[in-house]
Point group: C2
DNA sequence: CGTACTATTGATAGATATCAACGCTGGTGG
DNA sequence: CCACCAGCGTTGATATCTATCAATAGTACG
């Protein structure tokens, strides 16, 4: 029940004492409703926020009102690790679904960073976040709409698998088509049509907000998905939570 | 003549001893011709490379041969700061123009990181790189082609100003229209037409490979450019190299 | 003086946005 | 408990943006 732990251990196993420390951080999460800002562009960040349940996103609003979502934050992801260097947020972070969030204060972060294994794993996580951002840039810049959305769905499958939030090829995707559009630089109408085609091609289905990927290898091939940017250890057929 | 020093001091002034250490790093640069890989996707990075002269870029090639450029590296920029954590490059880095590059080895990096002011400044630089990546995502995802290219030109103006490579609103832009297309997710034909319109609107001109921005405030307004993501200190009319 | 890349132009095709309308659903107030 | 409302997904028609294809001209370089 500790997605941060799951995620960091996807990089390398942690000593028992480190695990206990991480567990102690996630005791009393705060519940935050959907579509609420966690922090806003221009604010000075003071704490690091950690998502335990739900989806959040980084975004910017342009002068003409367009919103661009630049990252999804899923359970186990940090919001503002740069807290101690930059004076001012250059983007906003908001919940998409209802979330459970914990706030981690500076002394706690420093305590974490004193543990070498945790520090390494958090460095890894930060670098993967950056690599993910690059992959999103490729996705939006170079892939047509269908492959673009298919790629996003592949990425979320792997990320959510890491924190035990998938059942086979299924996971909860608590976001609207409009939000997918703001993420992929597409209109919601077009997102709708693309999703219909992916369903017609037998690649995915929805059971309510539950996404079902019908043919994972085919979706990966179709979208040109190469998981190297997530820098997960090579696995041998078993999923992390299959134990 | 040390763009790294210029860049880091844009964050905060450094002690004399730190400056001398940084100067000692950039002694014997290597000259690398245009369009050559500095490191390739899949390679294990071993050294940090620093650009002293010229333009380089991060890029990926998709299965269908499309290239997406994800970042420009200009004088003062580092290539592979994540050397010590990630085992394998998830993208490639190549020169665009002819470059002068120095390779910095692990012990030298560790020596740099022992100086608190340098370490802070390098953290700042890494966070700005990430913020820039986010802004590029916004740019490609949410702005039409003309504003997209105009925004890029504004960004390069500020970044090159920081390392003393502008004269007023002019700077060397040693890249082709095709490469701008690979950067912005546009075809080279479309880039050509967009540049013509920007010229017709009196926003820019070219003197060979020298870009002249005719009306900086208007170009910024037009592109929706907000420099906050570069996290430069507030200035009061003076450019950093105006002294 | 070729050769090869780069910039440019015109014509056409394709992808995606916009506008408008409608049904469905879940929530809310009366 | 029911009627209303707002948000979401869906559909069709049309407009706009951008890509593709093809050809030409300029330019640098050996």
């Amino acid at each position: 029940m500790n997605p941060l732990l799951d995620k960091l251990e996807a990089f390398e196993p942690l000593p028992e004492a480190d695990k206990r420390l991480l567990d102690s951080l996630v005791r009393s999460p705060q519940v935050i409703g959907p579509r609420l800002d966690l922090i806003h562009e221009g604010d000075a960040p003071t704490v690091v926020q950690l998502i335990l349940v739900g989806f959040a996103c980084r975004y910017k609003i342009l002068p003409d009102g367009t919103r661009q979502i630049m990252a999804y934050l899923v359970p186990g992801d940090f919001c503002d690790l740069h807290v101690f260097i930059l004076k001012e947020m250059d983007h906003s972070i908001a919940t998409l679904s209802q979330c459970q969030v914990v706030q981690i204060h500076r002394p706690q972060i420093l305590e974490l960073m004193e543990r070498p294994a945790i520090a390494r794993a958090m460095w890894w996580a930060a670098l993967v976040d950056e690599a993910t951002l690059r992959e999103w840039l490729v996705n939006i810049g170079a892939r047509p709409a269908e492959q673009r959305i298919a790629h996003l769905l592949c990425e979320l499958l792997l990320r959510l698998e890491t924190v035990g939030l998938t059942q086979g090829g299924q996971y909860e995707l608590p976001i609207t088509q409009h939000e997918i559009g703001d993420t992929m630089g597409l209109s919601s109408v077009h997102v709708n049509r693309v999703l219909q085609r992916l369903r017609a091609d037998g690649l995915i289905t929805f059971k309510g907000s539950n996404l079902v990927i019908l043919d994972i290898p085919r979706l990966k091939t179709f979208s040109g998905f190469n998981p190297n940017y997530l820098h997960l250890p090579k696995r041998n057929g078993t999923t992390p939570h299959s134990v």
